[in-house]
């Protein structure tokens, strides 16, 4: 039963990490171009991003 003291917070923390990551990707506009992003991964050398 004592294990619950670690396990529940650990599970919640991991879940929150995932949620935070999703919200971060959302803020970085990563869902604006789903078709393009799917193809971009296939091309090996990215053009220099200077912004």
């Amino acid at each position: 039963m004592n294990a619950l003291v670690f396990l529940i917070p650990a599970a919640l923390l991991l879940g929150l990490l995932g949620l935070g990551a999703f919200l971060w990707t959302l803020r970085r506009n990563q869902y604006d171009d789903l078709d393009g992003a799917a193809g971009r991964i296939l091309s090996d050398d990215e053009p220099p991003e200077k912004s």
Binding site: I8, L19, L26, D33, G36, G39, S43, K50
Partner: protein
Amino acid sequence: MSEIALDPAPFVHREDDGIASLTVLVDGIHCAGCVQRIERTLAGVPGVVTARGNLSTRRFRLRWRDDQASAADLIARIAALGYGATPFVERADGDSAATNRRLLRALAVSGFAAANVMLLSVAVWSGAVSDMDEVTRGLFHWISALIVLPAAAYSVRPFAGPALRQLSRGQVGMDLPITVAVVLTLGLSIAETYRGGPHVYFDAAIMLLFFLLIGRTLDHQARARAGRLAENLLVLRGMEATVIDADGRQRAVAVSALAPGMRVLVAAGGRIAADGSVESGRSDVDTSLVTGESVPVAVAPGAEVLAGTLNLTAPIVVTVRAAGEDTVLAEIARLIDTAGQGRGAYVRLADRMARIYAPMVHIAALATFLLWWGWLGAEWQAALIVAVSVLIITCPCALGLAVPVVQVVANGRLLAEGVIVKSADGLERLAEVDTVIFDKTGTLTTGALVLRDADGISPDDLAFAAMLAGASRHPICRALHAAAGHPAAAGGVREHPGDGLSLALGEGEARLGRHAWAVGGEGAAAQGPELWLSRPGHAPVAFRFDDSLRRDAAETVQALRRMGLAVELLSGDREETVARAARDSGIDVWRSGARPADKLAHLSRLAGEGRKVLMVGDGLNDAPALAAAHASISPAAAADVSQAAADLVFQGAALGPVAHGIAVARRARALARGNFALAFAYNVFAVPVAMAGLVTPLIAAAAMSASSVLVTANALRLGLGRKAK
């Protein structure tokens, strides 16, 4: 589109730090490879800061140092790669993007909470049959409450907001039963947790929100995508005009910035951007988009020209007329406004169901409470638990999830065939139509002319006339040129705007053009587009042309009949031309010479008879009818105003998408109804169980997921049908 390269200058936005930016719509990109090629090419240009393309929207965002690069150069580089680039001012669709983000955030939060609470719930359920004591169970319930309450408070907002707004207007939509179910469930669960009881439904409540948000998000994204694509079609037309300043200098101006009194140069082949009068130059103007008339009109200085018409033969200078209430465009806009009002009253299928469903569910829950409390003599807390379990088990998944999924699959399927569904309820209204009314020019026909009775013309005359015609861009000349198999054009042909073409020969002058000019004297009134050829020593020859029907027009009309629809033709063109088009396409009921107000009157008469009309049209003169009809479709080449008024836009040269759109709409309606039937059948079993007080949190959660998966799977059948074909 005009052949003059668009000058991007009016579209460039300048920032303070010497950075200029521009959004261009790039035509002809199909894969990420195309995007990469353009990005790499532009990134290599000195001064370019960012060049980022979006494959979904076909839009590129360019930023560069103003002193090192120029917009025109960047666009020329894209064009050199073989793509068409059109600069434009991105309309602020911040509203739609913000809604999308809000929905995604709510979806993420509810998904996180649902997953974590389910972990705890599984433990509680298995604990019920093993050895979990009440203290541990209570602890798990408290942790669930801690996770779910903030998450639900956040993710219920997309439903609670509209529900409150609807309630304040005295309406009931599907948002209300959702909000009531969630709020009551959570309230009961808190009380039950506090008492230490077993009837805690945090998991069911948050799962309900999660499923419904999936439906809501899909629905919104499909709509936003359709809106962007429809906007792209309009942008590709080019949105700028060449203004001549008082000192004779020419500059490019966005069409929206044109003001009365400005002088606008319209090149041959260019679209006239504003209502006005011709100041100098003589030309022919194709007014088919505005009036439905298929024969070009000759214009000379002083003549009035309308926005949206196409200048054909020679450059003209147009003085923009004071924009007032009496312009044709304003008149049409007024007609559209009044015509579109009737449509606002349309209630979507899901909302209609919600009007029946919500009171039924709420009455059932109330009856359950009264039954247990008053009749069976249970404590009020226990009675309330049973009543709320009725609310939970009747989760409105079919309303909130199934209909959006059907719509998204249907829209996606139509999009693959070049049909864009623009309005939210367009597909539902399309499924209900029983009458289809076509416009003629540009809708039933391609808007391109073909030579009629070619056999009756001697090959020698045809070859000679085609040799002259090859020198002109006038659509009638082009049709003649095409009819003779594109022979080489003669040298030395002179074009007389509004009259025709002439060629000096050894024995005199050969003329090809309108009757009065080429032959002289008053001939019989022209019955449609025609050209006369006169040459020294030969009798004058007439070439008559038809606006050719779309390839599959007759086939589509037949297909529509087979679907049980009445088909009519309603055109602003002359009787003889309309009669012929009606005969060739197999339409029995037709009317010619109809002005916009006539079309509108005809539609309201049909509506008065209880008919539900689908209007298919492209012209500015059709726009009020498109807005007034029960549903409307316009081709992608239609006037801007008409596309804005239409529910659906189809691309390509075929008319088939009209019939196909109706078929898909009907199929979608059948599936949506099937989903409601499933939901109803499910409730027939589930509600008595819930009213008997036999529902546990485990049964509620299982039933909810099962019903959601079932209706979604049913909706996806629409997509499977395509593969089978």
